[in-house]
């Protein structure tokens, strides 16, 4: 009968306790951030936050109605530009993705997903803001679309690959051309998963600040068309957070709470709908 020496037993217990401690330490900031945000945000949030424009310095009150509309507009623009490209590129990777070209595309998509968002801001500034001679909602939407593209493409690929090949075979056996099989059978079957990926990418870009600083710029009023500067929640939070005014700080907390709820509810919905099959870390 062999016995485990005391030293080995102690090391074992210490190591396991260390792993548990690590997990606790990792979760502490999460609790602190959520707690502080709820504490500060709830007390600053009011009905006028959703309905009014920002007030000038010195006047108490006002809201971020323009920023909320602005964020929705920017995300909408990004979707209309980034989703068709992302989804169809993902279909290519999933359906015809065995070769060397697809490997390179997959690799480039992952690298593109790692490009700092501030660099994508410079890219959009050069390609859209400079030719149009001004900050615009289009430029902001373009920057967000570039960020969205690799995320949507890779999740769509995953979802398309999960479709059982018997479905494709059944459709092809009925004489349906391959492209119609792909669109009407494969993409339809994978629809839920593809929408999930889209929602994850929306949650990601809705909180982006850096690429909007010198593309969409920001606006204290309602935006005048899509060719002019437009306000957004993250940029407004940033501007207010680094300002020296207490009232603006309160607005920033309220904005952060709204933004986080927006992002968080999206991710939570994804989590519940897919029962955890798709992950938010891309």
């Amino acid at each position: 009968m062999t016995t485990v020496s005391t030293r080995r037993r102690v090391v074992n217990v210490v190591a396991q306790a260390g792993a548990v401690a690590c997990t606790v330490v990792v979760l502490v900031p999460l609790v602190l951030i959520f707690g502080y945000l709820l504490l500060k945000g709830c007390s600053s949030l009011s009905w006028s936050f959703f309905t009014q424009l920002p007030k000038p310095v010195g006047e108490v009150g006002g809201g971020m109605a323009n920023a909320i509309v602005g964020t929705l507009t920017l995300v909408g623009l990004a979707c209309s530009l980034g989703l068709p490209v992302g989804v169809l590129a993902g279909v290519f990777l999933g359906e015809y993705g065995g070769g060397r070209v697809a490997w390179v595309v997959r690799f480039c998509a992952d690298v593109l997903a790692g490009v700092p968002s501030i660099v994508i801001g410079i890219y959009a500034y050069t390609l859209v803001v400079l030719p149009m001679h001004g900050f615009s909602a289009y430029a902001g939407g373009f920057a967000l679309a570039v960020i969205m593209l690799p995320i949507v493409a890779r999740t769509t690929e995953e979802m398309v690959k999960l479709v059982p090949s018997t479905l494709r075979e059944a459709s092809l056996a009925l004489g349906v051309p391959t492209w119609r099989t792909t669109l009407w059978v494969v993409v339809r079957t994978a629809r839920g998963g593809i929408i999930t990926g889209i929602m994850l990418s929306v949650a990601r870009v809705a909180g982006e600040t850096a690429p909007l600083l010198f593309t969409a710029f920001g606006n204290q009023f309602w935006h005048q068309g899509l060719t002019g500067p437009i306000s957004s929640l993250p940029v407004q939070i940033y501007t207010y957070a680094i300002s020296p005014f207490d009232d603006w700080h309160r607005q920033a907390w309220a904005g952060a709470l709204v933004l986080l709820l927006l992002v968080f509810l999206t991710s939570l919905a994804v989590r519940v709908v897919t029962r955890g099959q798709v992950r938010s870390v891309v």
Binding site: I122, L149, W179, V281
Partner: protein, 332 residues
């Protein structure tokens, strides 16, 4: 490196390939168009990545010609006298990211080990959900929290404690503002942890259970099993996960900009304010009033892009070699 073919994928196109295909079917116009369309859009991803590089090189060409390689070695950053050098920002990026990893990597590996080896089944899903929740918080909210919670805490508790105990080291001397390199690295660590944890967890999950059982059968304790079977097997993947985290930390902009203090100076003290490549662009791009100033900022963006692309490329290759190309998006 190619995607491992599952049996189901092997019989992908049975109809056209099995039967002798008639010419008409092989040249189905719709198929050709659809395939060309999707392939073209997929190639667009490569084009976007390549054009980002081209645009940044083009937009910084004057700065590149003016300063040459000296741009990377000079620590002069003085827009008034039109002197630009990227060294303070390269230094700030490297130091803040390195310090962030120093804090984040042990925590992440510990958490991943807890999730994959120790946690009871019912606790695994909630804990990994909470860790991933950390990754969904927008950067600007980390920055806001940093300004109003972390900075006051660092100023009144952490920095005085460090100065009192480790003050003989040059890293923990000098005026205590609260903002600075140390605070930035802490925010970065919190932001990087979910990425490193999640990928490391994937890697641990990819370790065959036969390896674990073999170690246990030889009489190893749980920790010895981890040390002998899990960690060596996942080493490549862990390095990949750490590099993915490094890529995140280097490119992270808003939260760092809000807590690092934004001063273009190199200082040995971690209490001192600094600046990173990303933070200087975020801070000064809209205020750059003349051509060369903008170009210098774009060149910093170019350096940032090249560094992150190299790190991300290496990281992907390392992670793919362990857990396959789908490791990050599908549960293992």
């Amino acid at each position: 490196m190619t995607n491992p073919e599952t049996p189901a994928r092997a019989v992908e196109w049975p109809v056209p390939r099995a039967a002798a295909p008639r010419l008409a079917r092989r040249l189905n116009l719709g198929d050709l168009i659809f395939r060309a369309l999707t392939a073209g859009l997929a190639l667009l991803i490569i084009a976007v990545l390549a054009s980002i590089l081209v645009v940044l090189i083009y937009e910084s060409s004057v700065s590149i010609r003016t300063f040459g390689w000296g741009f990377l070695r000079s620590s002069a950053w003085d827009p008034v006298f039109k002197e630009f050098g990227a060294l303070p920002f390269i230094y700030g990026t490297l130091v803040s990211s390195f310090l962030a990893l120093l804090q984040a990597v042990p925590l992440s590996i510990g958490t991943a080990l807890f999730l994959s080896e120790l946690s009871p089944r019912w606790l695994r899903a909630p804990v990994s959900f909470l860790v991933e929740l950390l990754a969904t918080i927008p950067s600007v909210i980390f920055g806001l929290w940093g300004i109003f919670f972390l900075i006051p805490w660092v100023r009144s508790y952490l920095n005085p404690t460090l100065a009192a105990t480790l003050g003989f080291l040059p890293f923990f001397q000098g005026p205590n503002y609260g903002v600075g390199m140390l605070t930035a690295s802490m925010i970065l660590a919190i932001m990087v942890v979910p990425y490193v944890t999640s990928v490391t967890y994937e890697v641990f999950a990819a370790v065959p259970s036969v390896q674990r059982e073999a170690a246990l059968a030889l009489g190893a304790t749980k920790w010895e099993m981890v040390r002998l079977a899990v960690l060596p097997y996942g080493r490549t993947g862990i390095i990949g996960a750490v590099m993915l985290g490094l890529g995140r930390a280097i490119g992270e902009t808003m939260a760092v900009t809000m807590v690092i203090g934004n001063r273009a100076e190199i200082s040995a003290s971690l209490f001192a304010p600094g600046a990173t490549m990303a933070s200087v662009i975020a801070n000064e791009f809209n205020e750059a009033t003349y051509e060369l100033y903008v170009q210098a900022l774009v060149e910093i963006g170019l350096v940032l892009l090249i560094v992150t692309v190299i790190i991300n490329a290496l990281a992907r290759l390392l992670v793919w070699s362990v857990a396959g190309p789908d490791a990050n998006t599908r549960r293992g």
